[in-house]
């Protein structure tokens, strides 16, 4: 046998074997209800599975008393287990109860491979939860007519039910009071890649709902951005109107591998109308209560979505640039010098703006190139996503502000390089910017000296503090290094410090004391004040006037002087002085000038002078 034939024969035989096996697999038909019992108002799903055939003919509608059963969709499953291929078709019917009670869903006739098959009949119960106080297993909450929007009468389909497209796939929440859905744009993601995720929670619009708490969503190995405020809306599903809360967030996987994120959950409370006792079902009674039923029941419901399955791929190591710092997405890079003509020694703010879509939170700063002659500091970053409608950190512009100080005269800024991984093309991309023109120079020695920086020999060193005890014996300290030594300085100005005020007061007192001492000393040197000298003279003259042995001429001399001192200038005083002077001349140049004044005359003279003195005192 030809070698090729020897190789191909087993393969062909195996394939034929599998094909025959698949074809020869016996066709079987089964039927299964999603729930054997539902509350009135809820719906159930009936799945008719035809195994061993990929296609079968099934009825569009199944007749059953008290139930409405319609075909809603079809799916096909092909499985291969141990090289054994099996296929099955699943036909999904929606079962809508039209009344409460126990029902039998009749057997369904299915045609497959030219043969007729019949499913077994199934028992199905519909209970009135309000009346019985029970909730059907698996049911979210009983859907019963509300006062505000009553259910249609029994026996009639729900509004909008007929408009449901027949071939549409079955909805996960069909007929439920509340359900959730999750959608993720990608199932295969790269580690670090930001993926938008949308979570929607549906609530039957007929019943008031209160959402409790926050969305519970997350898993180990993924980072979920915080949920912004949800968007509210209305949506029709299977003929029912639902209030929809839509949460949009971002998800990124931390490490490669398979990640299954559990369902997103949201706690809520749905207000259901309760059974109205006899006598209280009057519409007037309801109107008195503002249209609200006093017998409403609050039902705590945890609404959840399907779990999310992700395959996380590692970032390729091949071709990874040196400047790659974790950015995953699609970006562009722009450079800007904020102050192209700074004063000597002043810093230059060099801004690099990264715009686009991706993991802005996880990206590192771009790398500066051509940095010779520059001293740079770690950048500060700022993210602006004001242009993003959802307010998520997925699209926007992130700015990195580098502070640069020229160590030599520079005419251009540094360049920059930024690398990211593009998940769409599965390749690394490197963006660069060229140096931008500017005019910067280092601080000059003169200006450094003026600010106390006496060491201009090396730009990388700086002196210790310009003042204080430690500065006296300062040694050069590297730029940015801590300065040893501690000097203490007051937080208050001297004017607010007690010691300064005390010293000022002391100086004031000292000055006053000095002035006082010198004044007294001067006074002492001059024999006291004029008044005291006058007083002293008057006392002296008055004593001599009383002296009985004093010559008459000397007595009148003393009297004239006394009159001149004791009183202020006045006509009377001048007249007295003139009279005394005349008398003095008489006794001086006439006879008796050397004799004492007679006692009577002395007494009169003293009396006159005393009156003059008293009048002046008055």
């Amino acid at each position: 046998m030809h070698p090729l034939r020897r190789t191909l024969f087993p393969l062909v035989a195996g394939f034929l074997f599998l094909a025959v096996e698949a074809h020869a697999a016996s066709v079987s038909v089964s039927a299964q209800l999603s729930r054997p019992q539902v509350n009135f108002g809820e719906m159930a799903e009936l799945q008719v599975t035809v195994s061993g055939a990929q296609r079968a003919d099934v009825p569009q509608e199944i007749n059953a008393e008290g139930l409405q059963i319609r075909l809603s969709g079809q799916s096909t499953q092909v499985q291969m287990v141990n090289f054994k291929v099996s296929s099955s078709a699943v036909y999904t019917y929606v079962v809508l109860p039209l009344k409460t009670g126990n029902f039998t869903i009749p057997s369904v006739t299915v045609s497959a491979d030219g043969q007729q098959f019949r499913t077994p009949s199934l028992r199905f119960s519909v209970v009135d939860a309000i009346a019985t106080g029970t909730v059907a297993p698996g049911g979210v909450a009983p859907a019963v007519p509300s006062p505000a929007m009553p259910m249609p009468p029994q026996g009639l389909p729900m509004p909008g039910f007929q408009q449901r497209p027949r071939q549409a796939p079955p909805q996960s929440g069909a007929g439920r009071l509340a359900f959730g859905e999750i959608s993720c744009s990608k199932k295969d993601v790269y580690a670090g890649e930001m993926v938008p995720v949308e979570i929607r929670f549906y609530f039957d619009a007929r019943y008031p709902v209160q959402v409790r708490g926050k969305v519970d969503f997350g898993s180990e190995g993924v980072v979920i951005e915080r949920f912004p405020d949800p968007k509210e809306g209305l949506e029709e599903r299977d003929g029912l109107t639902y209030n929809v809360l839509t949460f949009k967030t971002l998800l990124s996987a931390v490490k490669p591998g398979t990640i299954d994120i559990p369902s997103a959950k949201l706690d809520s409370q749905i207000q259901l109308p309760g059974a109205v006792p006899a006598g209280f079902d009057d519409p007037i009674f309801r109107q008195l209560l503002g249209g609200q039923s006093p017998f409403a029941q609050n039902k705590e419901v945890k609404v959840q979505t399907a779990p999310l399955h992700l395959e996380v791929l590692p970032l390729p190591k091949e071709g990874r640039p040196a400047s790659f710092a974790g950015a995953v997405g699609q970006f562009d890079l722009d450079a800007l010098v904020q102050n192209p003509k700074p004063a000597p020694g002043d810093p230059v703010t060099f801004t690099l703006k990264i715009g686009g879509k991706g993991n802005f939170n996880g990206m590192g700063a771009p790398v500066l190139t051509e940095t010779a002659g520059w001293r740079s500091y770690p950048p500060t970053d700022k993210f602006d996503n004001s242009g993003s409608a959802a307010g998520l950190a997925y699209s926007g512009v992130k700015s990195f502000d580098f502070t640069l100080i020229a160590q030599e005269a520079k005419q251009s800024s540094p360049g920059s390089e930024f690398s990211y991984f593009d998940p769409t093309s599965a390749k690394y991309v490197t963006l660069t910017t060229k140096p931008l023109p500017l005019d910067a120079s280092p601080v000059s020695a003169a200006s450094a000296a003026s600010t106390g920086a006496s060491s201009a020999a090396s730009p990388s060193t700086q002196p210790a503090p310009s003042s204080g005890a430690s500065s006296e014996k300062a040694s050069p300290v590297k730029d940015g290094d801590p300065i040893p030594g501690i000097t203490l300085r007051s937080w208050s100005t001297p004017l607010h410090r007690a010691e300064f005020l005390v010293a000022t007061l002391a100086m004031l007192v000292a000055t006053a004391a000095l002035a006082g001492v010198l004044y007294l000393r001067d006074l002492q040197a001059r024999g006291g004040t004029e008044a005291s000298r006058r007083r002293r003279k008057l006392t002296e003259l008055w004593s001599s006037l009383h002296a009985e042995t004093l010559e008459a001429a000397a007595t009148y001399d003393a009297a004239v002087e006394y009159a001149g001192l004791v009183a202020l200038p006045s006509e009377k005083r001048d007249a007295l002085i003139a009279s005394l002077s005349a008398r003095r001349d008489v006794v001086k140049y006439g006879s008796g000038g050397s004799l004492p004044v007679p006692s009577s005359e002395r007494e009169q003279l003293l009396q006159t002078l005393k009156e003059l003195s008293n009048k002046t005192a008055q």
């Binding site: 500091y377 003026s450 920086a453 501690i486 007051s490 010691e499 300064f500 010293a503 000095l514 010198l518």
Partner: protein, 262 residues
């Protein structure tokens, strides 16, 4: 003897405050410096915080310690807090060149303009404390000389005029130093230390009408304090209420030190 010692210390404290208050180099400060040099700014920052809240710094501050703390804060990425520390270092010693440089760098990082008014330039050249105390000393010497000359050498008019000039000029310089001393208004100033720019509001409420934002690191004047809200002026015509937890007083206070780690 005891009285003489007290008087001597008082005189030293008045005329040479740095000498009078010098406290040496505590081991704690040296340990923090070592942590900062070895690349552990967080550890250094914790030590500086602890050191600067100790009782010996209740009424006086150390420009070196505030500068070092600013460096640690700068290295941890907290530029707003670093700007406050450098401002405090310059408040204590306006001519502190390393603090001037680092302060300019931090302001550049924060996107704020550098401080460049003539008062700051004068203070950077000569410490206002020296102007105040030196001027007062000269003024009082002039006063004493004037008194002495008036009584002892009244005929020497030239000397009397010179003494009068000393009196007027000395006290004039002292008043000038007081007026330009940045510490004079520091009690009513604060710095925005939150990482995000807080919003100025027309009323002290979260839903008050927004009147603009104040960038981190900005020096503001506190016009009134009302619990958790301060009424501030952030610039010419830019006044409003701001949450007090977004700003820190320029002067460290015991309560601020413990509450905000300042």
């Amino acid at each position: 003897m005891k009285l003489r010692t007290h008087l001597l210390l008082l005189a030293l404290g008045i005329f040479f405050p740095a000498v009078g208050l010098h406290a040496g180099v505590p081991e704690q400060g040296a340990s923090a410096d070592a942590s900062l040099r070895s690349g552990h700014p967080l550890e250094a920052l914790a030590t500086y915080r602890s050191l600067l809240t100790s009782p010996q710094f209740a009424t006086a501050g150390s420009p070196e310690l505030w500068y070092n703390r600013g460096l640690a804060e700068e290295k941890t990425g907290d530029a707003a807090a670093a700007s406050l520390s450098f401002r405090r270092a310059l408040l204590l010693d306006p001519g502190f060149a390393p603090a001037q440089r680092q302060f300019a760098v931090v302001l550049g990082t924060l996107g704020l303009p550098t401080q460049n008014n003539w008062q700051a330039q004068v203070c950077g050249t000569i410490h206002p404390e020296r102007l105040i105390i030196g001027g007062a000393v000269v003024g009082w010497i002039g006063a004493l000389a004037l008194v002495a000359l008036f009584f002892l050498a009244r005929s020497r008019k030239g000397w009397i005029a010179f003494a009068l000039l000393l009196l007027v000029l000395g006290h004039g310089v002292s008043v000038f130093g007081t007026l330009i001393d940045p510490r004079r208004e520091a009690a009513s100033q604060a710095v925005v230390t939150s990482k995000n720019a807080p919003t100025l509001r027309a009323t002290p409420a979260d839903n008050g009408t927004a009147a603009g934002t104040v960038p981190p690191g900005t020096l503001i004047s506190v016009l009134s304090r009302n619990g958790a809200w301060w009424y501030v002026a952030a610039g010419p015509g830019q006044t409003g209420w701001i949450p007090s937890d977004t700003v820190t007083s320029l002067l460290p206070t015991p309560s601020a030190s413990s509450a905000k780690g300042s």
